[in-house]
């Protein structure tokens, strides 16, 4: 996502280096991790993928020493952490796990404020940080601060889990299957949010996943491991998709790897259409007149904060006097950073053959991406290059 560390903000990522790290369990002939060496550049997201039992989670947990390495060095910012006090070390490394791993007897605010509390921050500073983080992960502090984990949905718990991992502003964040326990649509949204947070914070993130699509979407680098945490291939998603190192990697990324490149293309890379919009509270008669004058049959409804609330056919709207408030969760909205494959998923549940696109941290409405635009784009790419080629990710930052 970022190529330089020169512009990195304060508190951004640190370089992480694993040197010949071994984990051998007593009574097992083969080490679980057999001499893993790896450098993760500062501020990048590295995805660990591989079949189950390949040692990817073990490798991750050795970085915060939840599992003690048998031998080898782990360096953060050039400093070997294998000799440090493990408890102190963990306070300086973010940790996000599947399902959020929230402490059920603590409120959302207490969960997020846990590490700052351990680090001895004063109450006011912790409170301010909690509010900031809740905003960042899209949860209204006034509503969610005092709730308990069991009063939250799976996606909300996971959001709090991410906020907790970020709480003390650690340079390195470890994620263990962070979005494995939520439904596909929530997962996609959480991935988008993580990407926009990461764009801003530029942490060094190590993330374990079994989902190659997630790895392609989130990773600056992907590390594909086989048994014993042996590196099968380590490189940018584009490189791995374009040139799998061997049959193992090719099998792992799957035969649909051409289609998987849809996961490399971002919605923001494509032109958006601008159908008619209206605001909550407007008079329906006026809206209908305006939309029909434009020769369209449906309208995007925005709220006062310019966020899309619904995409409706006029005939459904005509039942109301003024444009009503819609409060249900929309499944047909994608972020401009979403991949085309996410956008196609969203289109499947839309009755308009298109998905609404938002951008920015507050989810401002940008336009609509239509199925035709996507297929058209794929066709031009194919005729240009004979196969779908990845667009450099810098492209959408400029757009």
């Amino acid at each position: 996502m970022n190529q330089t560390t020169a512009t990195a903000p304060d508190g951004s990522g640190a370089q992480l280096e694993l040197v010949d790290v071994v984990k051998k369990y007593p009574g097992q002939s083969r080490p679980a991790v057999d001499g893993l060496s790896l450098t993760v550049p500062a501020g990048q997201t590295v995805m660990f993928v591989g079949p189950s039992g390949c040692g990817k989670t073990t490798s991750l947990k050795m970085i915060n020493r939840l599992i003690e390495p048998t031998s080898g060095q782990i360096l953060i910012d050039g400093e070997d952490i294998t000799g440090q006090d493990a408890t102190q070390l963990r306070r300086s490394i973010g940790y996000v796990i599947q399902g959020g791993g929230l402490l059920p007897h603590m409120s959302v605010a207490e969960n997020i404020g846990l590490v700052p509390g351990l680090l001895g921050w004063d109450k006011a500073r912790t409170k301010g940080r909690v509010e900031e983080l809740l905003e960042m992960v899209g949860l209204d502090p006034a509503v969610y601060r005092d709730r308990f984990p069991r009063e939250l949905s799976g996606g909300q718990q996971q959001r709090v889990g991410v906020a907790r991992g970020l709480a003390a502003d650690p340079p390195v964040i470890l994620m263990d299957e962070p979005f494995g326990a939520v439904d596909p649509i929530t997962r996609q949204r959480l991935q988008d949010e993580l990407m926009s947070i990461q764009e801003e914070l530029q942490k060094t993130i190590v993330c374990v996943t079994h989902d190659i699509d997630e790895a392609i979407k989130l990773g600056d680098q992907i590390l594909i491991l086989r048994e014993g945490a042996e590196i099968a291939q380590y490189g940018a998603p584009e490189e791995i998709l374009a040139a799998p190192a061997d049959d193992f990697v090719a099998d792992f990324i799957g035969s649909g790897s051409k289609l998987k490149q849809l996961s490399l293309l971002r919605v923001g890379d494509l032109p958006l259409s601008q159908p008619q919009t209206c605001r909550v509270g407007e008079s329906v008669d006026e809206v209908v007149r305006r939309v029909e004058a434009a020769g369209e049959r449906s309208v995007v409804i925005l709220d006062a904060q310019n966020r899309p609330k619904e995409y409706l056919f006029l005939r459904s709207l005509k039942r109301h006097q003024t444009v009503p408030v819609f409060s249900h969760e929309l499944q047909t909205v994608v972020d401009q950073r979403s991949t085309l494959s996410d956008a196609l998923d969203a289109m499947l549940v839309s009755s308009h053959g298109g998905a609404m696109v938002t951008g920015g941290s507050r989810g401002d409405y940008l336009g609509v991406i239509s199925y035709d635009t996507v297929t058209e784009h794929i066709r031009t790419l194919q005729t240009q290059t004979g196969q779908i080629r990845a667009v450099p990710s810098a492209g959408w930052e400029a757009s």
């Binding site: 915060n64 939840l66 408890t87 102190q88 070390l89 963990r90 306070r91 300086s92 940790y95 796990i97 399902g99 791993g101 929230l102 402490l103 059920p104 007897h105 603590m106 409120s107 846990l114 590490v115 351990l118 308990f148 984990p149 069991r150 907790r164 470890l174």
Partner: protein, 253 residues
């Protein structure tokens, strides 16, 4: 009171019923007994023994024995149970459980008398014997409760950078507390019942009424003693339930 009401929100109907019903039942029986005492035709021995002052004194003795024993039990069984769930000491838990089982299985009256013969009569011996007897429920529930704590949550807490002590005090114990409290409640009720034997080793309590009633063939005395032991057990059970409600960490279902 409002806090109490808000805490009862998640309870089953049965639990809510017991919470209100127990004190009402106890007060009703107590009122019935008072009416009987005021109207019954008692001989001089009965009248002298069954007085408000006498019964209050015996109840107070009884409560003291129960409270001291339960503090001793909780103070020893919870730390011991916690120790036995630490990985390094886990192997030690079967033999300790066997001893605790034996403690409960042995007839409490036998233990009481034997201990009295060895270390002397009185309050201290009664407390010791009763503690042995009521040790098992708290120990067993501590072990069960601690083992039942979701290991993923414990690992998350360690991953956040909590020390072992912090994980124990701020995560494991609070999460195991509901199960531990159920054991404490069971122990309390056992203690009230078994506390009636304390009179045999000169440690007082409501058992004195029962014993006197039997020896002197005075059924009003015997039955009064039995009624008060039963009412005390019910009230202790009720207090245990209230404690459980207030001590249970809020976020737990």
């Amino acid at each position: 009171m409002r806090q109490l009401l808000s805490r009862t929100a998640g309870l089953s109907r049965e639990d809510k019923g017991l919470l209100c019903g127990l004190p009402i039942f106890v007060l009703t029986v107590l009122a019935g007994w008072v009416v009987w005492r005021l109207t019954a035709d008692l001989d001089s021995i009965e009248a002298r023994l069954i007085t408000a002052g006498n019964i209050t004194q015996m109840t107070w003795d009884h409560v003291q024995i129960v409270v001291v024993s339960s503090v001793l039990v909780v103070g020893l069984a919870v730390p011991l149970g916690t120790l036995l769930t630490r990985p390094a000491l886990r192997f030690f838990s079967p033999p300790v459980m066997a001893v605790a089982n034996a403690g409960q299985a042995a007839p409490v009256i036998g233990v009481l008398v034997l201990l009295a013969l060895i270390i002397g009569f009185g309050f201290g011996t009664a407390v010791l014997a009763l503690s042995l007897y009521a040790f098992l429920p708290v120990l067993a529930n501590t072990i069960t409760g601690m083992r039942g704590v979701d290991q993923a949550v414990v690992e998350a807490a360690r991953g956040m950078g909590m020390s072992s002590w912090q994980v124990l005090l701020r995560v494991e114990l609070p999460m195991a507390l509901p199960v531990i409290m159920t054991g404490v409640r069971t122990s309390l009720v056992l203690l009230v019942g078994a506390g009636a034997f304390a009179t045999f080793i000169d440690a007082g309590g409501l058992g004195t009424l029962i014993q006197t009633g039997i020896i002197m063939f005075r059924y009003p005395i015997l039955v009064s003693g039995a009624i008060f032991v039963a009412l005390l057990a019910l009230m202790v059970e009720w207090v245990g339930r209230i404690l459980e409600l207030f001590l249970k960490p809020k976020g737990l279902a």
